[in-house]
């Protein structure tokens, strides 16, 4: 199986699984948004928790696991369902007998977390319970590392980006700074995938700049480089949580002399295709021609030939809603036009009425979207899914 990048349909929210074609079949999960399914939605809403579990391996004890869980930033639409579906706390407290109707919780072997992002997020709003639980788990792991000097599965953590006032100074071994490239995944050097840290931007000199970063949804921004065949950068995948215009403008400033750092074959449109990723002005249905920030757009325009941009959002309509914003989609389409690329929206894949995970496979020639399919035409079975005849033996 080649490496894959799978976007789960979670409305306006993010949930992306990278499965690496290495010996361990390393699974890196970026954000989750598992909503409770209820009532009428049951028929149309994709069971993303089930779809995720289908793609995960189980360890020797039969526990499903991800090698890495990265929280890009602590908004609810990026961590909803964490406590429900994931085991938090040391592994010896794992519950092998879940209550009736619940499944075994997913083990997180290594956490990637950014205290700087948490600090900035905490300034303007209160954290949801799942975000607090994540923060608690990250702190536990840091403490474990400080005490033991090392960690095994279920206790590992990598800190992304330096914290302010030298708070990460004694964490050198588990710290990855902004602009660094790392390929240590779950305690092992990985030859198939590496990550360049583009954000969070390091602590700023002035209070004003820090405030701007907080207001612009400071997030972990990574450029994944996934190998296929002999090609080490067969797929560059750029993901940046909800980072908004100021951050992208700054990123352009930092990287315009080395644009390859911002290149991508596949990009998750930041903040569910929000207009604020590209502009300081309000969208307002396009009235008054809100201006696009040139530098922010430049940072997001380093698309390689035939690139794909994915909006992890509701279906995009031509109205005044934001996010997702039709104006932002138009800007992305203009970027893609130059490279003959294609735009996808999780809320529209394969249909607005019935969504499925959108999975890209990584080949030497870059990421490949799924083949186009049509549901078979049949009678009154639309609600329950298609009827299949079991194969018979004679």
């Amino acid at each position: 199986m080649p490496s894959t990048v799978t976007f789960f349909p979670v409305d306006n929210g993010d949930m992306t699984l990278i499965k690496v074609d290495d010996n361990d079949k390393t699974a890196i999960l970026v954000d989750i948004n598992v909503r409770q399914v209820c009532g009428e939605q049951e028929n149309s809403m994709c069971d993303v928790a089930g779809e995720l579990r289908k793609r995960l391996q189980k360890d020797k004890e039969g526990r499903p696991y991800v090698d890495v869980f990265l929280l890009s930033h602590p908004d609810e639409d990026h961590c909803r369902g964490l406590q429900d579906h994931f085991h938090l706390g040391p592994l010896h407290s794992y519950n092998y007998a879940p209550p009736k109707g619940k499944e075994l919780k997913i083990v997180i072997r290594e956490i990637w977390s950014s205290p700087m992002v948490f600090r900035r997020a905490g300034k303007y709003h209160t954290l949801c319970d799942d975000a607090k639980a994540f923060n608690g788990e990250a702190r536990r792991r840091v403490k474990h590392f400080k005490e033991k000097g090392s960690a095994g599965d279920g206790d590992r953590i990598i800190i992304i980006g330096e914290d302010e006032n030298g708070k990460t100074e004694d964490l050198e071994d588990i710290l990855v700074r902004t602009d660094e490239v790392f390929n240590r995944v779950n305690g092992k050097t990985n030859d198939t995938v590496s990550m360049r840290v583009l954000g969070p931007l390091p602590p700023q000199e002035t209070e004003e700049l820090e405030e701007q970063l907080s207001k612009n949804h400071s997030s972990v921004i990574l450029q994944f480089s996934i190998k296929a065949g002999e090609k080490t950068d067969a797929c560059l995948y750029l993901t940046g949580g909800d980072a908004e215009v100021f951050i992208w403008e700054k990123l352009w400033e930092r990287n315009k002399e080395r644009v390859s750092c911002l290149e991508y074959n596949l990009m998750l449109a930041p903040h569910h295709c929000s207009w604020h990723t590209l502009s300081y002005e309000r969208w307002n249905g396009g009235k008054g021609n809100p201006k696009v920030c040139k530098d922010a757009k430049s940072a997001l325009s380093q698309a390689r030939a035939g690139a794909f941009i994915v909006s992890s959002s509701k279906a995009i309509r031509d109205d005044d809603s934001d996010p997702p914003c039709s104006g932002a989609k138009r800007e992305y389409l203009s970027i893609l036009k130059g490279v003959k690329g294609e735009f996808y929206c999780t809320g529209e894949y394969p249909d607005e009425e019935q969504q499925e995970p959108l999975q890209f496979k990584v080949s030497r020639e870059g990421p490949q979207p799924p083949a186009k399919r049509s549901a078979p035409i049949e009678g009154a079975s639309v609600l329950a899914g298609s009827i299949r005849q079991p194969l018979i033996h004679g």
Binding site: A305, R364, E365, P367, P370, R373, E378
Partner: protein, 777 residues
């Protein structure tokens, strides 16, 4: 569009008008998400079918997308030709792609056929497209989904999934099949890893009507160097079977050489489609697989021998092999075996008339491979784990039930067997037996006939025609032993004497577990009993437990009551009759299948407890429902030449009762059976003491109120199989039987008309037994 002329439609796509489904098919195609642009109007075909052409959009990886074509040569839009047969939608359309589509990818149907000339036929589904048509909705959309997926995978060279394994070369248009044991050929390669080739002996049947070699078989694996005399001998072989001619020839198996710069054999990771049609192309293909040199050298050896014999043309069989980068789908080996039939012809070389060479134009056809019949193959097809050990299954009784059980077990490769039956196959046996008897020689032993069938299934089968009861006696007096590595003994004799004889054997006289099977009551009831570990509980205990079960199970009791006279005389010849149960073969099979299945399970994993299975024919009379009861260890007491066997249920009842009465003596009546011949009492249950019984600290007097009625009741409900076998009482303070106890036993003798009985005394430490052998004392 022109108005169509009114034509007579014969319902299957008349040659005079467009196929009635053509327009609808075009609309379905147009509606598919992967279809780009306008679908062509259906075009009629000669045979009543039609053809539709359209462009399909392919999901290309990013860089390929930008330039419109992938490294593997798949374009962003591919032209597709669907060729619908006149029998559509019962039959699926055939799919074709442009003639210059990259054929070096895996998964193509080798020969397009259907008059589409040089178009390429992708193989988009592992099964039959005709079946896929009927699996899901309109069928056509699903076929297009598979094509869309296939093109996407072709674009990124992902048609073979290494995790799933290497997909063997697809060869649909084969001339026939060759049967060989792939494991044997692979072992030859393992023994000579540096590469090479060997001659093989083959027999084959050629159908003269169509020239197909259906079917050839490798009969000899290592005939050594080829000599003229032996080749002449081989080629002289001729037999006829029905309208087929069976002949013999030689085969060559060649395997990859070690690569020049290393010690590993050449690996062929490239998928080459099957398009070899003459010897020259075969050599090229063998070179691709890394076995060309070995093949050439072996073939020139054959050519030389042929020159000596002045032979000009005859068929030979060649098996090439390719070492793949990962194991073949569903196998552990990486060596793919690829067989061909060759119309081997010789022509004079330039060197002179005595020198011949193999003609490079010799025709070649691909052959399919079929595994030789083996226990492994039978295991695989049955999805069963081969039971550990090579010891036999000892089958006692090869009649209607036994023969079916053996055939079921043999078909899943569970042999070897030791088949025991003294009877000859008589014509009337054919009504219910797994076999039909010998066509020419009547009166063959059932065991011999069955052994022959088992051997056809490539399993060892020994036979024994001795009387089984006599045999048991020989075992008992240590004049004979069953094979020590016996895995399972199955009794399907339907004989009470055999059952008794088996019960009488000591635990270590029967190696392996004993499974008793029988049909009762016109085949309405079946019983299976598996003895416990160390033969405790044994078959005698289990049968008593089965009778005891009837006391509570009303349904079982009534079925058994109905079938009480089910064994009857059946005339099987003038003045000759057989004492047998009348029922159709199908009913025997209903039970035999379940019994064989349980036997197989026991072979795989012997149960930790003894068990009884009671099967009742269900109301519809087309199925059987089986219920399982387990039995824990029997307490066995030996005294004065007698054996007293207390089933666990009876023991439990006794200890329960003693607990209730504490320091007072209590007691009751023992129900069970007595085997006079085996000198054995088996107690299955205890009847509570009558209400007028007297309990005190140092005596217990059994009352009489309703006693007779209750005993009679148990007797009749057990199908008159269980009866009063004695009494029991407790000595809570210990101590053996008193003078009073002995006296009471003598009193009972009068009431029992001289039948043997026991008086059982429970003490906290042990059981004390008094036996009265009655009239046989």
């Amino acid at each position: 569009m022109k108005k169509r002329k009114t034509t007579h439609n014969n319902g299957n796509g008349s040659a005079l008008g467009m196929h009635p489904e053509a327009e609808r098919a075009a609309r379905l195609i147009q509606a598919h998400k992967a279809v780009a642009g306008q679908v062509s109007a259906p075009r009629m075909l000669d045979a009543g079918g039609f053809r539709i052409v359209f462009e399909m959009e392919v999901s290309l990886p990013s860089r390929a997308r930008a330039i419109g074509i992938s490294e593997t040569g798949v374009k962003a839009q591919e032209r597709v030709v669907l060729h619908f047969p006149s029998s559509y939608p019962l039959k699926a359309p055939r799919i074709y792609l442009r003639h210059d589509f990259n054929r070096s990818l895996p998964h193509f149907n080798p020969m397009p056929g259907f008059g589409e000339g040089d178009l390429v036929a992708p193989c988009v589904y592992e099964g039959s497209l005709d079946e896929l048509m009927h699996r899901c909705g309109d069928g056509l959309s699903e076929i297009l989904n598979h094509l869309s997926e296939w093109l996407g995978k072709a674009a990124m060279d992902d048609l073979i999934d290494p995790d799933q394994g290497w997909e063997p070369i697809r060869r649909d248009d084969i001339l026939g099949a060759i049967i060989f044991d792939a494991g044997k050929l692979r072992r030859i390669v393992e023994s000579q890893p540096q590469g090479g080739a060997v001659f093989l002996g083959c027999t084959y049947a050629q159908n003269h009507l169509n020239g197909r070699y259906w079917i050839s078989r490798i009969s000899e694996y290592d005939p050594g160097p080829m000599k003229a005399a032996s080749l002449a001998n081989i080629l002289a072989f001729r037999r006829r079977f029905e309208d087929m001619e069976i002949m013999a020839s030689v085969g060559i198996f060649a395997w990859p050489d070690v690569v020049l710069d290393g010690s590993t054999a050449a690996i062929c990771g490239k998928y080459l489609p099957e398009n070899v049609s003459n010897l020259e192309e075969l050599f090229e293909r063998a070179d691709d697989y890394g076995c060309g040199q070995s093949l050439r050298s072996k073939l020139s050896e054959l050519t030389w021998v042929c020159s000596c014999l002045n032979l000009s043309s005859f068929p030979i069989f060649i098996i090439l092999s390719a070492l793949r980068p990962y194991p073949l789908i569903g196998e552990t080996s990486r060596l793919e075996l690829i067989p061909y039939a060759v119309e081997y012809s010789l022509e004079a070389s330039m060197m002179g008339h005595k020198n011949f060479v193999a003609s490079p134009a010799s025709n070649i056809w691909p052959l399919g491979h079929r595994h030789a019949l083996s226990t492994e193959l039978l295991n695989q097809l049955s999805g069963v784990r081969k039971a550990a050990g090579d010891g036999p299954i000892v089958q006692l009784g090869c009649g209607s039930l036994g023969s079916k059980i053996v055939m079921h077990l043999a078909r899943s490769g569970n042999g070897p067997f030791l088949l025991c039956d003294k009877h000859a196959f008589s014509p009337h046996n054919a009504a219910r037996h797994a076999l039909t008897g010998h066509p020419e020689f009547p009166g063959q032993s059932k065991a011999i006939l069955l052994a022959a069938e088992v051997r056809n299934l490539r399993q060892r089968a020994e036979t024994d025609f001795d009387d089984i009861v006599q045999k048991c006696h020989a075992i008992k007096i240590e004049a004979y032993q069953l094979p020590a590595d016996t895995r399972l003994v199955i009794d399907a004799t339907g004989s009470l004497s055999v059952r008794e004889a088996l019960s009488s054997l000591l635990p270590d006289q029967i190696p392996g577990r004993l499974l008793h099977t029988a049909l009762i009551a016109d085949g309405e009831v079946g019983i299976m009993a598996v003895e416990g570990p160390g033969r405790n509980p044994n078959i005698g205990d289990l049968v008593v437990r089965f009778f005891d079960r009837r006391i509570e199970d009303v349904e079982l009791a009534s079925r058994l009551a109905r079938g009480i006279n089910s064994v009857q005389r059946q005339s099987i010849g003038s003045g000759c009759s057989s004492y047998t149960m009348t029922m159709p073969d199908t009913r025997v099979s209903l039970f035999a299948a379940g019994m064989a299945e349980r036997a197989r399970q026991v072979l795989e994993e012997a149960p930790s407890e003894a068990e009884i299975w009671i099967g009742l024919l269900d109301e519809s009379k087309v199925g059987v429902s089986w219920k399982r009861f387990t039995l824990r260890e029997t307490t066995v007491i030996k005294k004065g030449g007698w054996e007293i066997r207390l089933l666990k249920e009876a023991i439990d009842q006794i200890s329960e009762e003693t607990k209730i009465w504490g320091s007072l003596e209590t007691g009751g009546v023992l129900i069970g059976s007595v085997s006079i011949l085996r000198r054995c009492f088996t107690v299955s249950r205890v009847l509570e003491a009558p209400p007028d019984s007297l309990r005190s600290e140092n005596s217990f007097v059994l009352g009489i109120k309703d006693l007779k009625k209750n005993v009679r009741d148990a007797w009749s409900r057990s199908g008159e199989s269980l009866n009063y076998v004695g009494v029991w009482h407790s000595h809570p303070n210990g101590g053996g039987p008193s003078a009073l106890d002995r006296m009471s036993l003598m009193k009972m003798r009068v009431h029992r008309l001289g039948a043997p009985c026991i008086s059982l005394i429970w003490t906290p430490e042990r059981y004390e037994i008094l036996i009265d052998a009655g009239r046989i004392a």
